[in-house]
């Protein structure tokens, strides 16, 4: 389950990867910059090296050129006879060890009219100075047509020849410095001949070849034609030009480079060396000959240290990232561990076990805080649930008590119908549906003597337990006072006075109280602020209009009036509380007295229970499931048919 700790994996991935990227970028930049710095240093180093080499070569070449020039000027300024000429040449070679051969080659008939060609030449041979006549040495190809003669002759200036092998003198590589000299004539300057000084290039090429730059770097020397004079590729020396190599390798860029070199340019370039490795090359001309000296620095070796350093840094970085990863794993695990324990604990808590042991954390960080808060939360939850349990228990107890109260209240109201089976003169039916467990509405009926039935309906101004208790008092008072006084107005006045006496809670009750003479159907009634009852007889259904009267308990000393009516046989008096007419549907529309009147007109009249149930169901239909805030109480009393017998 390696991905269970997904936070650890994320931590490791993000931190390690970012670190690796940052490190790689840093390393790359470092490598690049090192290269740039190295290249800068290299450029000045290679320039210094090349310039010092050029300087050494140039010094030698300049000395030889100076000597040659000296002879030429000397021959121009004063006439020399043969002996003087030979002494001059000989001394020049004897005094200048770098000169391997020197001579003066005259134009045809310029030395004297007798000799066509004349070219005395001294040269070193086995440590001695020997003498030769060039006009005799080159019979097949007379000296005036050799490059060393012809080029300065045509150009009229000092020239260094292209290096060549002198087969006569042990096949050594030589270059000749040639200086033309003139005679002033009437028609202007006239060429008399060419003074030549040879130098052996062996020491020069050896000097260049001896340059070792690191392990594989080297110096090279090219002639004006691009001919290779000194180079590690020994076979190419005096055989290949830079351009023939370029052609052989089919490399136009090499040819372009060669052209820059032979043009006498100076440059520092990165290129693939002729030997085949990537290198830096600095090339610069040797001014007097126009040859090119190049120093080649192998890039691989130059960068070896940088590369090594980079490798070391890479290894270190790798190890560092590895360590970092381990550290991240450690820290992440340390952070995750209490979280994981917490998760386990919360699973338990979620399952309802609040007594599970929460992991102890010593850390003061966010996780520690979280664990601590969790601990507090658990305690709070525990307390809350405890309270809730207690409250629920209390509520349940109250509920059950209320249920008992409901039963008691219900049992207080006469509920056995027909209540007086031995009195066929009338019929009576009543129902009360309390809005809460216990209600404030009540009804009652009882005989106060043999022929007089007292019946009443009442509505306590409040609901619930207080109303129920008040109702108990009111009902008891009404019954005892009813039986004692026997007149509705007196009953109400008396009960009102008693209730109003200690009415600290300001509770009231409306009452409609009536006494029926069951023999005649005469009804005496008094109203204490209750809804007017309805009369259902042969004339139809109508509201009575009793005097309103004040509610009981409001004001002591209130006077009530007894009114009279007579219930015809089969006439019904219908009493109700406002819970009926004020029953609300979900749209808060009241049931209303109009609708009740209509309902009663259509209700069955023979059976009072059916009539009341009809009204109840009509109210329920109107309410359409909306909870009712008031008790719904109805009472109906009906005189029987007149007995014929």
């Amino acid at each position: 389950m390696p991905f269970k700790n997904s936070i650890v994996v994320k931590f490791v991935l993000v931190i390690s990867l970012f670190n690796a990227v940052i490190f790689a970028l840093t390393l790359g930049y470092n490598y690049y910059q090192s290269r740039v710095i190295l290249q800068h240093e290299l450029e000045s180093n290679s320039r210094n090296l090349a310039m010092s080499l050029v300087h050494r070569v140039e010094t030698e070449l300049a000395a030889v050129a100076k000597v040659t020039e000296g002879i030429a000027r000397s021959l121009e300024t004063s006439p020399h006879n043969e002996r003087e000429l030979l002494t001059l040449i000989r001394s020049s070679i004897e005094q200048n060890p770098e000169i391997s051969g020197a001579g003066v080659a005259f134009e045809p008939y310029a030395f004297n009219a007798a000799s066509h060609l004349y070219a005395p030449y001294f040269y070193r041979e086995n440590g001695k100075v020997s003498f030769r006549r060039l006009e005799k040495a080159y019979l097949d190809f007379p000296y005036p047509y050799w490059d060393w003669y012809q080029i300065p002759r045509e150009l009229g200036k000092l020239e260094w020849s292209e290096p060549y092998f002198d087969e006569g003198a042990g096949n050594i590589l030589k270059s000749t410095c040639s200086v033309p000299f003139y005679k002033d004539t009437a028609s202007g300057k006239q060429l008399k001949g060419i003074v030549i000084s040879d130098i052996s290039l062996d020491s020069l090429t050896q000097l260049v070849s001896s340059i070792k730059i690191l392990k594989t770097g080297y110096a090279a020397l090219l002639s004006r034609n691009g001919m290779i004079l000194a180079h590690p590729m020994k076979d190419a020396i005096m055989n290949e030009t830079f351009f023939s190599i370029a052609e052989g390798r089919n490399d136009p860029s090499l040819r372009e480079l060669g052209k820059k070199m032979v043009r006498g340019e100076t440059g520092f370039i990165h290129y693939q060396s002729l030997v085949g490795f990537s290198s830096w090359m600095y090339y610069t001309p040797i001014p007097s000959t126009g040859w090119t000296l190049a120093v080649v620095f192998p890039e691989e070796e130059l960068l070896e240290n940088v590369r090594k350093l980079s490798m070391t840094m890479m290894m270190m970085g790798f190890a560092g990232i590895l360590l970092l990863t381990l550290a991240v794993i450690y820290i992440a695990r340390k952070i995750i561990k209490p979280l994981r324990l917490l998760t386990g604990a919360t699973d338990e808590i979620a399952a309802g076990n609040f007594d599970v042991e929460l992991p102890a954390t010593q850390s003061k960080d966010e996780v520690g805080e979280l664990a601590h808060n969790f601990q507090v939360m658990r305690e709070s939850l525990k307390d809350y649930i405890k309270n809730l349990t207690e409250t629920t228990a209390t509520k349940e107890r109250i509920q059950s008590e209320l249920k008992v109260a409901t039963n008691i209240q219900a049992s207080l109201l006469p509920r056995i119908f027909p209540p007086f089976p031995d009195h066929p003169e009338f019929d009576i039916y009543a129902s009360m549906v309390p809005a809460k467990e216990v209600g404030g509405d009540f009804y009652d009926f009882f005989f106060i003597d043999k022929n007089h039935l007292c019946f009443l309906i009442a509505d306590v101004s409040d609901k619930g337990v207080p109303a129920a208790l008040y109702m108990m008092v009111a009902k008891t008072l009404l019954k005892t006072e009813g039986q004692r006084l026997g007149e509705p107005d007196k009953i109400l006045s008396s009960v009102n006075n008693i209730l109003a006496l200690d009415n600290e809670n300001c509770m009231f009750t409306t009452v409609f109280c009536a006494i029926l003479d069951i023999t005649t159907g005469d009804v005496r009634y008094a109203n204490a602020g209750h809804n007017p009852p309805l009369m259902i007889d042969s004339h139809g259904v109508r509201y009575l209009t009793p005097k309103p009267g004040l509610m009981l308990g409001a004001l002591s000393g209130t006077v009530f009036v007894t009114e009279r009516l007579t219930l015809e046989p089969e006439a019904t008096l219908f009493l109700y509380t406002d819970g009926v007419t004020e029953a609300k549907n979900p749209e808060d529309a009241l049931y209303g007295e109009e609708r009740m009147l209509k309902a009663l007109q259509g209700a069955p009249r023979d059976d009072l229970a059916k009539m009341i149930h009809f009204i109840s169901s009509d109210v329920a239909q109107h309410a359409n499931g909306a909870p009712q805030s008031d008790d719904i109480t109805m009472l109906a009393i009906k005189m029987a048919k007149k007995r014929t017998a």
């Binding site: 019979l139 045509e154 150009l155 020239e159 351009f243």
Partner: protein
Amino acid sequence: MIWYPNQTRRQSHLLISWIFVLLLAGFLLPRLVAAGTLLKSATLMPLWSPQAQFAGYYVALEKGIYARYGIDLKILRAGPGHSPADALQKGTTDFAVLWLTTALQHRTAGTHLVNLAQINQRSSMMLISRKTSGIQSIGDMEGKKVGLWEGDVSIPPRAIFARNRIKVREVRQSHSVNLFLRGGIDVTSAMWYNEYHTIINSGIDPEELNVMFLRDQGMNFLEDGIYTMNKTLQKDPTLAAAFVDASLEGWRYAFDHPDETLDIVIKYMREAHLPANRVQQKWMLDRMRDLMMPVRPTGKMGVLAEQDYDAVALVMQENGLIRKYPAYRDFVWRADAVQK
């Protein structure tokens, strides 16, 4: 099976004798060949020191083609100071490579030499100037310094100048191109297969040069051909025929195996202590192939066409280089004539 010791001994005796004879033959034969008892000795002097211009001869020698044709050939040293025409005349060489112009001059001067084969079918000679000098045509060379080789080689350019009626400042040029490279002359004579490439490989691009082939100026002065003295030919026509056939076969082999050929040529160059530049030699060999291809559909490798011969001879006569010239049939000896 019965064992017969005597019979076995007799058989082995016979075998040993045979081996002895074979060994003797194998040992002696090359000696005899080397001593020339079986092969005819002959010498060849090329026009110049060893280079791919003569690859066919060196390859034929090296690959034993001459030996196969019954010739024990020796290629003589050539180059500066060696004149193949003189060597022919003096009899120091049996065969020589000569330019047609040279051969004609010598022939009209009384040296009875004969063209055995014409190797180059078109002229490779050119006049090169730098574009910066503004020389666009032969006419532009008026008064300019023009490098010309000494000797017969300068005949074609001189003929062109004469025909165009211009006067140039002739400067005798050596075998190096340095005089031209340094600016000592405005125009240089060059061979396509050699000096032209040397100039290119001294760092001057073809685009920087104006190049005029003499053959494009109506001067198809055919160069390398194989010549021998008439008396040598009369003495042993089969040898001459064999030499020509072997040489041409050598050339064909050279073109079919350029790398091997270059190895052989460079080997001879090194032996002669010459700068050996493979790229240069490859260029030369490739150009020789171009130059040896017959110009006309009816042409044949190694055969001097009569109209080419007449054209060259006529120009030379017009320019006063020769007074009259021998008839084509007299000058050219056809190798296939031997078979007749």
